[in-house]
């Protein structure tokens, strides 16, 4: 019965959005309860649907929109786990926000927008066709724009919001181009080959797409999947479109948590997972996915090392972890087939829990000390025990702590190690070890930067005497719930993989699963991720707690490497100044303006056409002598000529 009401998963938060936006200021606590109730409703329906369709059912509803397009709902294993995660994490963040945003005057707007944000993300997840997916995807982009620019009176926030929208828009255009190309290919396939849609199916539905894969030319398929991946790169902040994510920290911390954990950035990974059968048939595209993902994982982690803004560190951490998910889809996809979706999605979910936790903890800290700057924090452990503890749990999960032999560990341990193992297996099979090296190095850096953050914030002596205090229960309870998930979610690993593997079979797609054919990685490979994790913890402990190295000597203006990292590889300057201002605005737009004003208006119209007509007039006006006799002479001449002509022509 829950499945029949699946549309409500999206509609409830949409209704809450409208009501809160227009009537929120008349409701208690800025209308916060409305979105919370709506999202709780979404969560309950998602959960109910899960129990209904488990272990191998799905919900499919579809209706014609117009022409050959449709609106529809597809809840398969892949979608339902996402639905539960999105609605659950979003629910916790909303509850937390009641405390965090308590003093903001624009609460109705905040809660309305986050409600729409969640609705859009849920709509992305349960779309049954790629166009609806794209539409919801764009609404997600809009909401991120609105929320990053929530404090629009801050110029930096307004600029960051714009950047987020524009950079993701670059990806969206690629995505749209992919859809265009797909539609054209599908139509050609239907008209030119024996392939036909099943009755009741629509052209852009996922199941139609997957059914048509064998008929589409491989090069076309590679281009389409690469274009889709372009969209994912934009949304998931992969290199080179990663720059908007750290800037997006201008929004309230709860918004960052939403963007980084539950909504938005995971949509990119979800897109690749959703269209995975197409990627599997386009190995070149998978290779690109693997390399972009792997490179992003390590590239973002290096910048995470030096950031001083607590939220920026976490932002780069997200970029890096999303890189892991892409890496998993790319590498494991090539050697393990459909299991890659399970591996990647599992990390997506566990990341959602501990990243939401990290952000909410950071929010709690910021709420308490009133600054984002790590250098001004320190020694908060005593004052904020719950926050510090939960954040330490989250850090352990992010760094992937656990014991390989006993299958005991945090959520991140299970999910991340699977990715690293997948990368190793890919290297083992193909001989290409680069993705594996990327992932191991990134794991080391991850551990260093996250414990650096924790030690700088919570240990040592307070570097500033602010009156910090623990947050109210409305904020700490969600932290504790998330901490439970960050600790124990990993134990669902086997069941999760098994459940997701049925996913594409349900859609009638066969993806060869090479279930670890006699592949048993050596103990070193199994232990290496945890070793680098511990190594990172130790390094951070020694540097930031014991202070065996004087960081102020390394961290100077003269150190070019530090400067490079601190300036984020000069990406902001490059994208907004060089590309945005100089190239686009300065060159292209101003050239156009020049052409318009000077060439078309100035030269063609004013000079050529006007002047010609005027000088022609100057010549012709001489005929008008003003002497009546001339006129009469000409007139008689004309009549005479006319008569002669008529005589000639008339005969």
């Amino acid at each position: 019965m829950f499945g029949d009401y699946a549309a409500l998963i999206v509609l409830l938060p949409v209704i809450a959005f409208v009501l809160t936006l227009f009537f929120g200021n008349k409701l208690p606590s800025g209308g916060a309860h409305l979105p919370i109730a709506a999202i709780a409703g979404s969560f309950i329906i998602s959960l109910g649907t899960f129990f209904e369709i488990y272990p191998n059912g799905s919900v499919q509803q579809s209706m014609q929109w117009f022409s050959t397009l449709n609106f529809g709902i597809l809840i398969d294993p892949l979608a339902v786990v996402m639905l539960m995660m999105v609605s659950f994490v979003s629910l916790l963040i909303h509850i937390y926000a009641v405390g965090y945003m308590a003093h903001d005057p624009a609460k109705p707007r905040y809660f309305a927008e986050t409600s729409l944000f969640t609705a859009a993300m849920l709509a992305v997840v349960l779309s049954d066709n790629i166009l609806q997916f794209f539409m919801a995807w764009e609404i997600v982009g809009l909401c991120s724009y609105l929320l990053i620019g929530f404090w629009y009176h801050k110029p930096t926030a307004a600029a960051a919001a714009k950047k987020a929208f524009l950079v993701t828009r670059v990806g969206d255009v690629l995505f749209l181009a992919g859809i265009v190309l797909l539609y054209v290919n599908m139509t050609n396939v239907i008209t030119n080959t024996g392939f036909s849609l099943e009755p009741g199916n629509f052209i852009l539905q996922f199941k139609s797409m997957f059914a048509a894969i064998p008929y589409i030319a491989p090069t076309q398929l590679t281009i389409i999947t690469l274009l889709f991946f372009g969209g994912a790169v934009g949304k998931s902040g992969q290199f080179p479109l990663h720059g908007w994510l750290p800037d997006a920290m201008e929004g309230p911390t709860t918004v960052s948590a939403l963007i980084h954990a539950a909504t938005m950035v995971t949509a990119g990974v979800y897109l690749v997972a959703r269209t995975f059968p197409m990627f599997v048939e386009a190995p070149n595209a998978l290779l690109v996915v693997a390399y972009i993902g792997g490179f992003t994982a390590i590239f973002a982690a290096t910048m995470g090392l030096v950031m001083n803004d607590i939220k920026r560190v976490l932002a780069y951490s997200t970029v890096s972890q999303l890189g892991y998910m892409m890496l998993a889809l790319g590498t494991a996809g090539m050697v393990l087939g459909a299991k890659a979706v399970g591996i990647s999605m599992f990390h997506l979910l566990s990341h959602a829990f501990f990243k939401a936790l990290l952000f909410l903890c950071a929010g709690s800290v910021i709420h308490a000390v009133g600054t984002n700057d790590l250098r001004e924090m320190g020694g908060l452990f005593g004052k904020m025990k719950i926050t510090a503890t939960t954040m330490f749990i989250a850090a352990l999960a992010l760094a992937g702590f656990g014991i390989p032999g006993l299958h005991i560990g945090t959520a991140g341990f299970f999910s991340k190690d699977a990715i690293i193992e997948g990368a190793y297996e890919y290297g083992y099979v193909t001989g290409d070890m680069i993705p594996y090296v990327f992932s191991i190095l990134a794991a080391l850096l991850t551990s260093i930067y996250i414990f650096r953050l924790w030690f700088m914030a919570f240990s040592g002596k307070p570097r500033q005497d602010r009156h910090a205090h623990e947050s109210p229960p409305v904020m700490t309870v969600p932290l504790m719930i998330l901490a439970v998930f960050a600790l124990f979610f990993g134990f669902s690993q086997t069941g999760f993989y098994g459940y997701l593997e049925t996913n594409f079979v349900l859609m009638g797609v066969e993806i060869g699963v090479h279930e670890g054919e006699a592949f048993h990685p050596s103990a070193l490979i199994l232990w290496l991720p945890i070793i680098v994790g511990v190594l990172g913890l130790v390094i951070s402990y020694l540097i930031y707690n014991r202070r065996i190295v004087d960081m102020s000597r390394i961290v100077t203006r003269r150190n070019p490497l530090y400067q490079l990292l601190l300036n984020r590889y000069y990406e902001p300057g490059l994208s907004s100044y060089v590309i945005g201002e100089k190239l686009t605005h300065g060159t292209a737009a101003m050239t156009g303006e020049f052409v318009d004003r000077r060439i078309i208006d100035g030269f063609v119209i004013d000079t050529v056409i006007s002047r010609t007509l005027l000088s022609l007039g100057d010549v012709l006006k001489k005929i008008q002598t003003g002497v009546v006799r001339n006129y009469i002479s000409v007139m008689l001449l004309g009549v005479g000529l006319l008569i002669i002509l008529l005589r000639i022509g008339g005969t």
Partner: protein
Amino acid sequence: MALISLMILVPLIGAIIAFLTKTRQQARAVALAASVIPLVISLYLFAYFNSGVTDIQFYESYPWIQTLGISLSFGIDGVSLPLVLLATIIIPLTVIFAWGETEQANKFYGLILLELVGILGVFTSLDFFVFYIFWEVVLIPMYFLISIWGGPRKDYAAIKFFIYTHVASLVMLLAIFALYFNAWQASGVFNFDMLYLLSSYSLIESGMLRDAVFLGLLFGFLVKMPAVPFHTWLPDAHVEAPTAGSVILAALLLKMGGYGLFRVILPTLPFTDSTAILITLMAVIGVLSILYGTFLALAQRDLKKMVAYSSISHMGYVTLGAAALVPLSISGAMFQQFSHGLITGVLFMSCGVIQHSAGTRIIHELGGLAKHMPKLALLMMAGFMASLGLPGMSGFVAEFLVLVNSYFTLPTFVILALFSIVFTAAYHLWAMQRAMFGTYNEKLGHIHDGANYEIFAMGVLVLLVIYFGLNPGSVLNMMTANAEHLDRLLRFAVLRGVIT
């Protein structure tokens, strides 16, 4: 029932009454009444329109100058009805938006009603001569709207507008006469009936003359749209025009050009001598308009001018979709006309409210307006998002249909057009950031939000944009039959071997 002539007559009578009224209260009441009645009629037409067929419906014809074969004949089909609906939606809302007009109010409202007369005439008349008369009728009230209620350079802008569009319509008139006399030569009967003349186009013997006539007609419509490089009148006209004038200009006058493309250009295109070249020409102009309009919008400092250039860019999709000659791309282009009419109304109204409250539209002189104008900020944001093609709003459906379906025949041009999407978003967001967000520019002093009637007019448009974005079928279905009909003509051309 002479519904269409009634729809044209009511605003005409209303205009005369409005001119004669003494107070502005009377004038605006007359204007509202005389523009709402056509809306009711067009909604009736909308409800009883049979969208499955391509025939002209609600046809009515009265003899006028019989010796020359001119008759007052009106009718609608899937090409014209959505535009009739658009015109009758926009004009009452414009009257409501301009509810506070004080300067020579009776003339102002009278001219707006005259605009409605002309536009409805253009969209419904089926006699080429009458069509041309209405085409010119549209021009004159707009000239006065700009030159009386305009900004500082109103005379320049009004003259420029007039000369550009008038030259274009004269060229078009020549082409119409060529069609007329050719049909007369072929049959010995004088007849100005539009569909008859169009079907006789193929009887012109000389291939060069056929192309010349086609280009004459095309020129007439492209200038009106306006397409690059005949577009420079538009930004000037918009900058100087009063808000109501801008709304009518962008939402309705430009659509006359697009209407001409579907009504006149596409049926004649298969019979031209060099069809393939002409299709490429149209596609080039379409894509050039899209890209060029986008970049120019990016360069503007004046909010209204930026919106004007965005109109050029969006109308490029109409040309592109028409040139692609795929049924759904043609319907998409028609839908783009309809959708852009609604969206651009919101944008120009936003500019009007800002101009009115802040006293300037120069983007960098504004800043942080959202703080004091929350309602405007919401509506303007909705309008901007619709304009940059956000899904869920009507602009997305139109542009998606055009892009997807044009790819079948014009892949290169579609790829070029895709580039504009990011930059389209860029200038909208840039303007939003500078004008509405950031710190409030204290130099603006105390400003107030839009008046209730202004917010109402914009709100209705935004709701319509969302409605047609979610339910495009209600309008799109009407267009599809006609678009397929046009496409059949073109497939006939393929059979003749003129295009591939």
